[in-house]
């Protein structure tokens, strides 16, 4: 727990009668760039807002930098949060917003924020309402970086950006992380973006964590396997089937390895991050699985 920048245990949040997040256990190690992926409505925003202390858990606990989110200025100073819609006071200029950052954050470092924006050529003397979405996102990021947080929580930071602005933004992130030894948690539903910058993955779906871990370890632990349909039974029993598709003769499965695959009848291939994410997103939850008619005999055979 001590070297987790963000950890949660049994974390749950309910809005009226709808659970936005249920029994969520996450550990994000210090110093990584973690992607929080999942379909819309999976609970990504809820998790980030819980971590930032903007909302309170219905049950369970979340710890950020070792303590539960609170109103202590010292804790607030260490946590940078950028909301999805990049809220800024639209009638203020970039300069005024940087002034706000300086006045509201004792740990503020003007050069971090200003140099970044000036090198991007963003006009700081205009009202931010006149700037493009990408420029506003950069100002929002500069504001959160300027306070020199130890953890950065970014909710869909690139969702509204065009591809070029998106690339600039993400490379800003990696630079910032490299310079400041930050932990970054960013949510996205675009795998291409996270593949470029993230080294840790938390996959949320149906209000629960489906998969979490270092991306290279996750990729190493999963394989595509394909072969003749009738061979499926038995020979993959020790591995976990994540997804499967069948034609008349051929079966293609994604498995989480539990040891090597010896059976030479299987053709084995590496998985890509996008395949992995899609496979887990499409996977039925444990509860659903008990009820589904589409269970494979392999699943039933497992001990």
């Amino acid at each position: 727990m001590s070297d987790s920048a963000l950890s949660s245990r049994g974390l749950a949040k309910r809005y009226r009668d709808k659970w936005a997040l249920k029994s969520c256990d996450v550990e994000v190690p210090v110093g990584c760039i973690a992607a929080l992926v999942g379909p819309n409505g999976a609970g990504k925003t809820t998790l980030l807002q819980l971590a930032a202390g903007l909302i309170r858990p219905t049950s369970g606990e979340v710890k950020v930098l070792g303590s539960a989110p609170n109103q202590d200025p010292a804790w607030l100073a260490q946590v940078g949060f950028l909301a999805q819609e990049v809220p800024l006071y639209r009638r203020l200029t970039g300069d005024q917003l940087l002034g706000m950052g300086a006045h509201l954050n004792p740990s503020w470092k003007e050069t971090i924020a200003r140099d970044r924006l000036e090198s991007l050529g963003i006009a700081l003397d205009k009202n931010v309402a006149q700037l493009s979405g990408g420029e506003r996102a950069q100002i929002g990021l500069a504001l959160t970086l300027g306070k020199q947080p130890r953890i950065l929580l970014l909710d869909e930071p690139v969702a509204s950006l065009d591809p070029l602005a998106r690339r600039d933004f993400l490379s800003s992130l990696t630079e910032a992380q490299f310079e400041a030894e930050l932990t970054i948690v960013l949510s996205s539903h675009l795998v291409a973006d996270i593949e470029r910058v993230c080294d840790y993955l938390v996959l949320l779906s149906r209000s629960q964590v489906q998969l979490a871990g270092r991306i290279d370890e996750l990729l190493a632990a999963h394989r595509w396997v394909s072969g003749l349909r009738q061979t499926t039974e038995g020979s993959l029993a020790q591995h976990e089937i994540i997804s499967e598709s069948h034609t008349e003769r051929q079966s293609t499965l994604m498995v989480r390895l539990n040891g090597p695959i010896h059976d030479p009848r299987w053709e084995v291939g590496d998985v890509g991050l996008e395949d992995l994410v899609l496979a887990y997103m499409g996977r039925k939850g444990v509860d659903d699985m008990a009820q589904t008619q589409r269970r494979l005999s392999i699943v039933e055979d497992r001990p």
């Binding site: 903007l54 202590d72 909301a83 005024q96 706000m100 006045h103 954050n105």
Partner: protein, 322 residues
């Protein structure tokens, strides 16, 4: 924080400041006219005690609705400030999502709220104090001519109470904004609740904020004494034993008055007859010299209500999801 508030609000502060200066110039010029016509009037009708009451109204009120407007401005300003400064203070942050910006800086929500409310209330007090002084000065000749200034809108627009109303309205507005999270509904609720509070206060509470005085007045008039500029709350006819007399069509019921008076038909003679038998009006009233005590009590009451709203807002904002 103060720096940020100034960056955000300076345009509005300048506009309101200019507006205040213009209002001061306008009230200054027209106020001299009012004072001047009052002095002319006093010279004109000195010695004619009876004529002056009506005459003063004719000169000072007649022909222009200006004094109505001045009183109305003083009466409504606390509403306007509560609605336009109080209600959006938190609600606008929610509406524009900027609470996720401002409440994730290195400043606690409580401190954010405290500083914002302190500046808003401080600025409003300065504004309302200046306006109330102007209005009270402008109105003072009319005050002297027009006796009762306890039971009307004039009371609401002078002295201390505008400050009490204003502080209460801002606190109410902020609380509604925090509760409803949208500016327009918060503004509506602020107006509604404030209107109810003020109506109930002026109609039902103000008469009892200080113990009312009572006085016996002759039925046939004259000797109004302190009632002349006091605020009459109720009057009943009592007999010589000081017991209320039942009324029939506005005059004492025949069964309740001495037989000698029962035969008299003319109202005036009846009055004289009853007078002679020890009948009086029993009048309950707040004397004019209760003005400042009533102002103080009502101001304190609204400040106390305001504090309740402030406490609620702090509790709600720090406990609820943002």
């Amino acid at each position: 924080m103060t720096w940020l508030i100034w960056q955000q609000q300076r345009r509005q502060v300048i506009v309101v400041g200019i507006g205040l200066v213009l209002a001061a110039v306008f009230l200054g010029i027209t106020g001299m006219f009012v004072a001047d016509s009052y002095h002319t009037l006093v010279q004109h009708c000195s010695g004619q005690v009876h004529g002056c009451g009506n005459l003063s109204n004719a000169v000072l009120w007649g022909g222009s609705r200006l004094s109505d407007v001045v009183v109305a401005v003083g009466f409504l300003t606390p509403f306007v400030i509560g609605i336009f400064w109080g209600a959006p203070l938190v609600a606008r942050e929610f509406e524009e999502g900027t609470h996720r910006l401002s409440w994730t800086q290195s400043v606690s929500r409580r401190r954010w709220l405290a500083v914002h409310m302190a500046w808003t209330i401080g600025a409003a007090i300065v504004l309302v104090a200046v306006m109330t002084l102007l209005i009270s000065w402008w109105y003072s000749p009319i005050n002297s001519a027009q006796h009762n200034r306890l039971g009307s809108a004039v009371f609401d627009s002078q002295g201390l109470v505008p400050i009490g109303y204003t502080v209460c309205a801002i606190a109410l507005g902020v609380a509604m904004g925090a509760l409803l999270r949208r500016s327009v509904p918060a503004m509506g609720m602020t107006f509604l609740i404030m209107a109810v509070l003020r109506y109930v206060t002026s109609e039902y509470l103000r008469p009892h904020l200080l113990p009312a005085k009572t006085i016996l007045v002759s039925l046939t008039g004259g000797g109004l004494g302190p009632l002349r500029d006091g605020w009459v709350l109720s009057q009943t006819i009592v007999n010589s034993a000081r017991q209320p007399v039942p009324l029939l069509n506005g005059t004492p019921a025949p069964s309740a008055i001495p037989g000698a008076c029962n035969v008299i038909q003319s109202g005036r003679q009846l009055g004289a007859c009853l007078d002679a038998h020890g009948f009086h009006y029993l009048v309950a009233y707040q004397p004019a010299n209760h003005f400042w005590a009533l102002q103080g009590a009502e101001t304190a009451m609204f400040l106390a209500i305001g504090i309740v709203f402030v406490v609620f807002t702090f509790w709600w904002v720090s406990r609820r999801d943002a």
